[in-house]
């Protein structure tokens, strides 16, 4: 089964072969390394940039305005903060020019905690990103979605921020990509060898194109009592919690949002109507958190449908994620936190 890094690489290859992408670039994205997580190994159009995030995003904007469909990478989302004003410009270009200069580009970046990344390799960015009007923001939680969402991001004629949960980068999927070769073969075909890569060339399997639409959530697990809405790495934390809850007779419906902006309100709303209980779980710091917007929407639309106070479970509002495992675990929601919140909701009487 492909890992998320492999699935994204396959998607990027499809994009450069079939979709007119001519530049996949960022720090150490080109040969010999092919990205610090190996996502861009062997790609024909991958190239190394100066160590300059503003230059990377600025250049992507220039390429986009020249109609080139660039895909750029910020090595870790922790390093995107010096370029937020450029992201604002990319997001307002179409609006500001009354439609004359749309900005078709993809910006991908590893996000979140879970790899013992300490203060500067654990940041989340979705709450900041959600405020960058004019951008779409997506985050896959498994390889097959990573593939389909990347093709959607490339196809979409607007700027799309593609956040990759870095802790899931090397996790294999449960579902095969269409016509995916077996694990060993795939590795031999598209993973760069260790050591000298001078002569190495990948052999690309033919994966048929498929799109995971932007704005479409996925009900990963059906349930009756409580709706748990999440994305990225936290989705797996929520699924683990759902297993535990099942043993206690609490049936949780788990929804993978996949798209943060825009988001699939229909799916969330339907689930809330069914369960009457909802929690929004992500690992970004919880003051101020993207889940709070979903909470507000829940209150606006479903105040009288709720059986329990709706929740947002986010990361602790501290300036960083500590390196010690104890600190990291205490910083971001764990499956136990989700379980406890669900139990509390079940006991609440409204």
């Amino acid at each position: 089964m492909a890992t998320m890094a492999q699935a994204i690489r396959l998607a990027l290859h499809h994009a450069e072969r079939e979709m007119g992408v001519r530049d996949i670039f960022g720090q150490d994205v080109g040969p010999p390394l092919g990205g610090v997580f190996g996502v861009t190994q062997g790609l024909e159009t991958a190239w190394n940039t100066p160590l300059d995030e503003r230059g990377i995003i600025g250049t992507a904007m220039g390429l986009a305005m020249a109609g080139q469909k660039p895909i750029c990478e910020i090595q870790f989302v922790d390093y995107i903060f010096n370029s937020i004003d450029l992201m604002k410009l990319a997001g307002n270009s179409a609006w500001n020019s009354a439609g004359q200069f749309p900005m078709q580009m993809v910006l991908m970046s590893p996000t979140g905690s879970g790899i013992h990344g300490s203060i500067y390799h654990s940041h989340s960015f979705e709450a900041w990103a959600a405020r960058l009007n004019g951008w779409k923001v997506v985050m896959p939680s498994d390889p097959i979605t990573a593939y389909g969402l990347m093709l959607a991001a490339v196809e979409d004629p607007n700027p799309v921020l593609y956040l990759i949960p870095k802790a899931l980068m090397r996790v294999e999927g449960k579902e095969l990509l269409p016509e995916e070769p077996d694990k060993k073969t795939l590795k031999a075909m598209i993973d760069a060898p260790l050591g000298d890569r001078g002569e190495w060339k990948p052999r690309w399997p033919a994966i048929p194109r498929f799109i995971t639409p932007i704005g479409q959530a996925h009900v990963v697990r059906g349930g009756e009592h409580v709706s748990i809405v999440s994305f990225g790495r936290m989705l797996w934390v929520c699924l683990k919690a759902a297993e535990t809850l099942q043993q206690e007779g609490i049936s949780a419906e788990v929804i993978d949002l996949r798209s943060i902006i825009p988001y699939d309100w229909k799916t969330i709303s339907k689930s809330i109507l069914k369960t009457g209980r909802v929690m929004f779980v992500n690992e970004d710091t919880d003051i101020v958190n993207y889940g709070e917007h979903l909470l507000r929407r829940t209150i606006d639309a479903h105040f009288y449908d709720l059986k329990a106070r709706p929740r947002v479970l986010g990361g602790e509002p501290v300036p960083g994620i500590g390196l010690a495992e104890t600190l990291e675990d205490a910083s971001v929601p764990q499956s136990g936190t989700v379980v406890q919140a669900a139990r509390d909701m079940m006991e609440e009487n409204t």
Binding site: G55, G58, T59, D85, S97, A98, A152, P262, R297
Partner: protein
């Protein structure tokens, strides 16, 4: 130099000045909120505008402008009335449809990319456009313009680095319009060097300091620079010394400030050399002042953007987006 061309310089400089003065007056008469522009910079702007390879798309020059380049637009043939529409924020403003400030142009037919308020960002965007041009074998170059103070922003350094990666040099014409001021901060309070363009030298970028108040010298230097960039596919930097005659913007009062006036200076030259009489030159001023006033009177009759257009152009329609694919909306408004 060709007499007709010299008269054309004068004509376009005066046209630009009349337009700028009309827009300044519009702030005072309540016909616009904010003015920023280039009185004092007409010479270098007109000289450049006349030599742009103008058109839409990768085969033409891409223009990443500063907010003081109205003279370029006049030289490129954009109607005088259009900046007045931008200034008054009407629905007819062809640049932004009432969304942005004066001087902040965006005009696709001539590859004028949206002028940004955050100072200096254009320098970091230029390499992307120039890379696309070079790869396409285009004759176009990317022209990027900024002030002396703004060159302290990190994007200026980005532009230099990305334009000169070994073996991957890019066809960018950098133009610094040095009026020796930020808003109020003097250049000599900031810079350890006399010329901003000295910063380009270690990158191997040819540089030239010019008198930006002289349209003929500017025309010659910019022509040579553009030709060099087109021929070599490599960057070049022109550092033009210019005047700022009416202050930074309408926020600083727009009173006439001391400084060399490139138009007055050129008129003296044209008269001294027998190219035109004072009466002929004065007539040009009168004509454009009347034209600018008439344009304003017309624009006053034009509508402001309807409130419901607010959401337009936030996103381009997308076949792969199930929510905003056809239409953008505010989910908080109960859509």
């Amino acid at each position: 130099m060709d007499r007709a061309l010299r008269l054309q310089f004068h004509d376009l400089m005066v046209k630009t000045r009349a337009l700028e003065l009309r827009m300044i007056a519009m702030v005072r008469s309540g016909d616009g909120y904010f003015w920023i522009g280039g009185p004092g910079e007409e010479a270098v702007n007109v000289a450049l505008g006349l030599q742009v390879r103008k058109g839409e798309g990768i085969d033409y020059d891409y223009l990443l402008l500063h907010y003081r380049n109205t003279g370029m637009l006049m030289a490129m043939g954009i109607p005088l009335i259009d900046p007045i529409r931008l200034m008054r924020s009407t629905a007819t403003d062809p640049f932004t449809r009432g969304r942005s400030f004066s001087g902040h142009y965006a005009y696709k037919p001539f590859n004028i990319l949206p002028v940004t308020s955050p100072i200096g960002t254009q320098f970091g965007v230029a390499p992307g456009l120039a890379l696309a041009q070079k790869r396409a074998g285009s004759k176009g170059v990317t022209i990027v313009i900024g002030g002396d103070a703004g060159a302290a922003e990190p994007d200026f350094a980005s532009g230099l680095i990305w334009a000169t990666r070994p073996g991957r040099e890019l066809p960018i014409l950098f133009l610094i319009t040095d009026n020796s001021l930020g808003i109020s901060t003097r250049k000599d309070q900031v810079w350890a060097m006399e010329h901003i363009s000295d910063r380009a030298k270690p990158f191997g970028i040819p540089t030239r300091v010019i008198d930006g108040n002289d349209p003929e010298a500017s025309h010659a230097a910019l022509g040579e620079a553009l030709e060099t960039v087109r021929r070599t596919g490599r960057p070049y930097m022109i550092d033009a010394k210019v005047s700022r005659l009416y202050g930074h913007s309408s926020s600083s009062g727009t009173n006439l400030e001391p400084g060399e006036d490139p138009i007055a200076r050129y008129e003296k030259k044209l008269v001294d050399e027998g190219i035109a009489t004072p009466g002929e030159l004065k007539a040009v001023h009168e004509r454009y002042h009347a034209e600018a006033l008439a344009a304003l009177e017309q624009v006053r009759l034009e509508p402001f953007p309807a409130p419901h257009t607010l959401y337009d152009h936030t996103f381009v329609p997308s076949p792969v987006d199930l929510v905003y694919g056809e239409r953008y909306f505010n989910p908080n408004r109960g859509d």
